[in-house]
């Protein structure tokens, strides 16, 4: 019963929506019935158009995330461990952080056109900061008592990093990771909607030209599903990697 309860409201909303659409209260040009959206989904997946576009979007998202996240992680670690590196780069990075990365879209289009590089650049830039800030915070907040213990037991710098610093920073890094995933999809949606010749955002904008509202609504749902999927994977990773932490072990 507990499992069913949260689903009652969404199902009722869906039923009401379907009924209202069939009764003609909602014009299909504004909001198609759920059944019409499902039909569009079936049509697009049969033709393979859906999968091709998901593949393109997912690749952009992951590649951009890997580049931006990788650089953010590297800077976070370097600046957390080395005071020199921090003095050199942190204030510059904090200045750049204040520029909303989506504001760069016109510039990015001038630089890269509407090719893949433009999307990768935007996603990477958007993902960079949450990962950087949280990695840096994680390294900073590693328990100094544990560091002292490690040194007293003669751990090498390498062992100290792998056994104390990295695992100690991991909970914070995961916060950055999940936040970064959110920004990753958001950036991609905007970038693909404004300028693209493939991908989910392109599918939606293309459908809009032909007034295929069902495809537009479906595209939005696909984005939501992909975002949810990415978050679930991150949660799963969190549970596996942070099993030692009672806060995560239960969830």
């Amino acid at each position: 019963m507990k499992r069913i309860l949260p689903w009652i409201v969404p199902v009722l909303v869906l039923l009401a929506w379907q009924a209202a659409a069939q009764a003609g209260w909602i014009r299909p040009q504004v909001m198609p019935a759920p059944s019409a959206v499902a039909e569009a989904a079936w049509r697009l997946s049969r033709s393979g158009e859906l999968w091709a576009n998901i593949e393109v979007s997912a690749w952009r998202a992951l590649a951009g995330f890997a580049i931006g996240g990788g650089i953010g992680f590297a800077f976070g670690m370097a600046n957390g461990l080395s005071a020199l590196s921090e003095t050199l780069t942190d204030s510059t990075l904090q200045m750049v952080r204040n520029i909303p990365h989506l504001a760069l879209i016109p510039l990015v289009i001038l630089w890269f056109g509407i090719d893949e590089e433009a999307k990768l650049f935007l996603v990477a830039l958007g993902v960079f900061f949450p990962i950087y800030v949280n990695t840096l915070h994680g390294v900073r907040s590693v328990d100094t008592q544990l560091l002292e213990m490690g040194r007293a037991y003669g751990m090498s710098e390498r062992a100290l990093f792998l056994r104390v610093v990295l695992p100690g920073a991991l909970p914070s890094i995961f916060v950055g990771l999940r936040y970064g995933l959110g920004i990753m999809w958001l950036t991609l949606i905007v970038a693909e909607t404004i300028s693209a010749s493939s991908g989910i955002g392109y599918m939606a904008m293309n459908a809009r030209e032909f007034m295929m509202v069902d495809v537009v609504v479906f595209s939005i749902l696909v984005y939501a599903a992909l975002g949810k999927l990415a978050d679930s994977i991150a949660r799963l990773l969190e549970r596996v990697c942070l099993a030692w932490n009672p806060v995560y072990a239960k969830g």
Partner: protein, 259 residues
């Protein structure tokens, strides 16, 4: 048995029974800013002795211990362990006030932190299990530190310290946060492993009863100096509430409270 195995066995034997290390302190001073916490400490601690250092809070007893453990450097003076003025870090281990276990490593891996000398992974695992059994935690190898009680965590910390076969083991109020019964259990455990292994033990504590129950010799630290150096010549195992022990305790408390 081939020669290397024999050598290794002998090496372990000397580490285990290896007896305690001597500690010699000459003119030790330690200054924090303008405040001089230790104002010239001279000490000779013979091998295998169980020494307790007591004093009011802020008297510098933990500072002194950290100097002996090599975690801090004295402002002036010389420390030698077994006659060595440098490179004694491997000989000395410090048990901290807090367990300081790595929360992301299971109990057995935490003990292995102390096993830097072991050759292979399997040998490390086996030795860690042995030491855990010695502190009464057999079967808890795969647990996360988070599920252990405070006393069990300190047992793991003790196992970690013992695993490295220290010849001088320093304790910085390791039992301060434990409840009364767990404290007594831990005191008995520390006394037992000290008798078995023969290392030199230096315990810093604010609990005079604990000092009298455990130590051969009690140093009272006051005003940056050793104010009292009391030999506790009572047979072991010591019964709690012994009148002779109570007399020594009374003398030390009088000095501490300036009565």
């Amino acid at each position: 048995m081939n020669v290397t195995v024999l050598d290794r066995a002998v090496a372990r034997e000397t580490r285990v029974s290896g007896a305690g290390a001597t500690a010699t302190l000459r003119g030790i001073r330690k200054r924090f800013g303008t405040h001089e916490v230790l104002q010239g400490i001279d000490l000779d601690i013979p091998a295998g002795q169980f020494v307790a250092i007591v004093g009011r809070s802020g008297c510098g007893k933990s500072t002194l211990l950290r100097l002996i453990a090599g975690l801090d450097q004295p402002s002036a003076g010389r420390i030698a362990v077994d006659g060595q003025e440098n490179a004694w870090k491997d000989v000395v281990r410090l048990m901290f006030q807090e367990p300081r276990l790595l929360p992301w490593q299971r109990v057995v891996a935490n003990v292995e932190v102390g096993l830097t000398h072991a050759e292979s992974r399997t040998e490390r695992r086996r030795e860690a299990q042995d030491v855990l059994a010695q502190v009464g935690l057999a079967g808890r190898e795969r647990d996360w530190p988070a599920v252990l009680s405070g006393g069990q965590k300190q047992r793991v910390a003790l196992a970690r310290a013992l695993a490295s076969h220290p010849r001088l083991l320093a304790f910085d109020e390791p039992l301060g946060a434990l409840d009364a019964l767990t404290r007594i259990e831990m005191q008995d455990l520390i006394e037992r492993v000290w008798q078995e292994k023969g290392f030199t033990a230096i315990v810093v504590t604010h609990d005079v009863t604990e000092a009298v129950a455990l130590a051969d010799r009690i140093l009272v630290l006051d005003g940056g100096h050793v104010a009292m150096d009391v030999a506790v010549d009572l047979p072991r195992p010591r019964r709690r509430g012994d009148p002779q022990a109570a007399a020594i305790e009374g003398r030390i408390l009088d000095r501490l409270l300036q009565r």
